[in-house]
Amino acid sequence: MGAAEAFDREVRLFVYRHFVDEGEPPTAAQVADRLEKSTEDVEAPFRRLEAAHVLVFAPGTLNIWMANPLCAFPTTFRVTTERGSWWGTCVWDAFGIPAMLDEDAAIATSCPDCSEPMEFRLEGGSLTVDDGVAHFAVPARRWWDNIGYT
């Protein structure tokens, strides 16, 4: 593994662990401080991770918007486990959070059509759900054309 690849991995792991532990992503300054680098040093790995579709930044900033399945800003998917609560970017990601954490979870959302609250429970790796259907509007090959919309 090259030096850049190793640095990217270090940054990625810190971002995800911080996001899980704190419920929000670290700033570039926090990543730099933790890895004993300058903020400028962190920009290159941030951009490489963005290009690799690992991190998504708020437009025109180095503020992490998504480290999928985690989302920094409120969405219609709230995931709660014994460790904490996070926003999932979409229902795929909402299910991805307990999968990533290997924990039971409650996922609260609402039907986009009628606004009726919906809740799903994951226990022991099994999904308990009475009804409902998932819908993806954007075909797979166009997901990253506009990941915010997707």
Binding site: R9, R12, L13, Y16, R17, V20, A52, H53, V54, N68, P69, T76, C90, V91, W92, D93, A94, F95, G96, I97, P98, A99, M100, L101, D102, T109, C111, P112, D113, C114, E116, M118, F120, L122, G125, L127, V129, D131, G132, V133, A134, H135, F136, A137, V138, P139, A140, R141, T150
Partner: protein
């Protein structure tokens, strides 16, 4: 990707907003997708799936057809 109460709600939502109907599938399949896609995301050795690997995940859980193809 959103969760709706039923296919009827998907159809009405798409029609009201002028959004073409995409792909509908069960929440169990969505959970399986989350499990397969993100289960190892905190591993130091995680790496992004290749397009072939990603399409294999979709196929394994019954998400097939042109909608789920990553390449033209």
């Amino acid at each position: 990707m959103l969760a709706f109460r039923s296919e009827e709600h998907v159809d009405r939502w798409c029609e009201t907003r002028g959004i073409p109907h995409g792909a509908s599938f069960s929440l169990q399949q969505a959970w399986e997708l989350g499990r397969r896609w993100y289960g190892d995301k905190l591993s130091p050795d995680w790496r992004r799936a290749t397009p072939d690997e990603a399409e294999r995940v979709f196929t394994d859980i019954g998400l097939t057809g042109d909608f789920w193809r990553l390449r033209a």
